[in-house]
């Protein structure tokens, strides 16, 4: 187990940050154990490097053939599509151009120019006409409703009056019948009193 403040193997492979490297370097100078560990790493690497590189058995090379070479336009197009940054830049450039063209061809509104005149009279006339029409319609509907209600009430009153009149006539008729009977009775009584032969027993009624 290493006592180094930072990974000794990272130090060996020069993968430490500058300040970490300096701290580890100071430690290694005073630590025999870490120096031994570094020696072991060095030995392993040296052993690995005894395996030499080989020469490539056949050189690699390409031949230019215009038939297979893409055209300049195609190379440019592929270059554009092959790179996100270039594509992004091209998109931004096209957007900028479109904005500038739009800014130039768009009619600029004149600042301070009078606003188009509005025919207030016509507007008011139209508005009043619509209001009057709505009010007239509402009044007509209301009057119709009132008229209908009045007719209904009148019909009901007439009917009630007719019934009352009929009832009164019945009562008058009955009264007249009673009075007529009484009168006949009186007439008969007076006749009897003036003609006793008509009552041989002389009984008064």
């Amino acid at each position: 187990m290493s006592c180094s403040p930072f990974d000794l193997r990272d130090y060996y492979f020069q993968e430490l940050a500058e300040n970490e490297r300096r701290v580890t370097e100071v430690h290694v100078k005073t630590c025999a154990h870490c120096r031994e560990e570094l020696d072991r790493l060095r030995g392993t690497e040296a052993a690995l490097l005894t395996l030499p590189d080989e020469e490539i058995p056949q050189r690699i090379g390409f031949v230019s053939d215009p038939v297979f070479e893409p055209s300049a336009f195609r190379r440019g197009w592929e270059s554009l599509w092959g790179s996100a940054s270039r594509l992004g830049f091209a998109s931004a450039a096209m957007l900028s151009v479109a904005l500038m063209v739009f800014a130039f061809i768009r009619p600029v509104p004149q600042i301070g120019a009078p606003a188009p005149a509005i025919d207030r009279t016509a507007l008011e006339a139209g508005f009043s006409g619509r209001v009057n029409e709505a009010v007239g319609k509402a009044v007509a509907q209301s009057e119709a409703r009132q008229e209908r209600r009045t007719q209904e009430l009148l019909a009901a009153a007439e009917k009630r009056h007719e019934l009352e009149t009929q009832a009164m006539m019945v009562r008058v008729q009955e009264y007249l019948e009673v009075e007529k009977k009484r009168l006949n009775t009186l007439i008969l009584a007076s006749n009897d009193a003036g003609n006793p032969a008509a009552n041989p027993n002389g009984d008064a009624r």
Binding site: R9, L51, E54, P70
Partner: protein
């Protein structure tokens, strides 16, 4: 180093404009490294050469998609990694789910066996590398033999940096254990 990077970037720009000669020059700078990377992964010269050709062809076809020419090397190795793993998948027997283990090169103890180096150690290294998992072996190759930074390796193999470090350090521990008896005999 900086001058070389600028020159590579210049060649890439020319190749993008259709300059095949510029691309051939770029290939000549990278073909040996790419070939050896593939050879150590697939452990077969013929396959490594075929894959190298495919890698440079695909790189040429997609060169316009490379946004930053300074990142050409990791980008190229990413293509090589994909090509190698595509071959692994094709070669894997139907139904087998285990990872690909490269075969040893027929007639030779190790790729690049050379009398200049102590043959026993070379054999031992080759054998020890063969015992690693494919992921561990590739990480060792990219770090020790190709010299990429962890971040670049992570981009090539499409794995987090922590995974790359874990693979490398585990592999180095295994290699150290495998090579210890040979080194103890003082071959080096």
């Amino acid at each position: 180093m900086i001058l070389r990077a600028v020159e590579d970037a210049d060649l890439i720009r020319k190749a993008r404009r259709g300059d095949v000669e510029a691309y051939n020059l770029l290939i000549s700078r990278w073909e040996r490294r790419v070939y050896n990377y593939l050879l150590r992964i697939v452990a077969n010269r013929e396959d490594a050469l075929d894959l190298s050709q495919d890698v440079f062809l695909k790189a040429y076809q997609n060169l316009r998609k490379l946004d930053d020419p300074a990142r050409f090397a990791p980008w190229l190795y990413r293509i090589a990694h994909n090509e190698a793993y595509s071959l692994f998948r094709k070669r894997r027997p139907q139904g087998e789910t285990g990872e690909f283990q490269p075969e040893t090169i027929e007639g030779e103890a190790a790729p690049g066996g050379n009398a200049v180096f102590p043959i026993e150690l070379t054999l031992a290294v080759s054998s020890a590398l063969g015992k690693l998992s494919a992921d561990q072996r590739e990480t060792v190759i990219l770090k020790i033999y190709q010299g990429f930074k962890f971040e670049e390796i992570a981009g090539i193999v499409a794995a987090p940096v922590s995974t790359v470090k874990s693979r490398l350090y585990t592999a180095l521990d295994l290699l150290k254990a495998e090579l210890a008896p040979v080194k103890a005999r003082g071959v080096t």
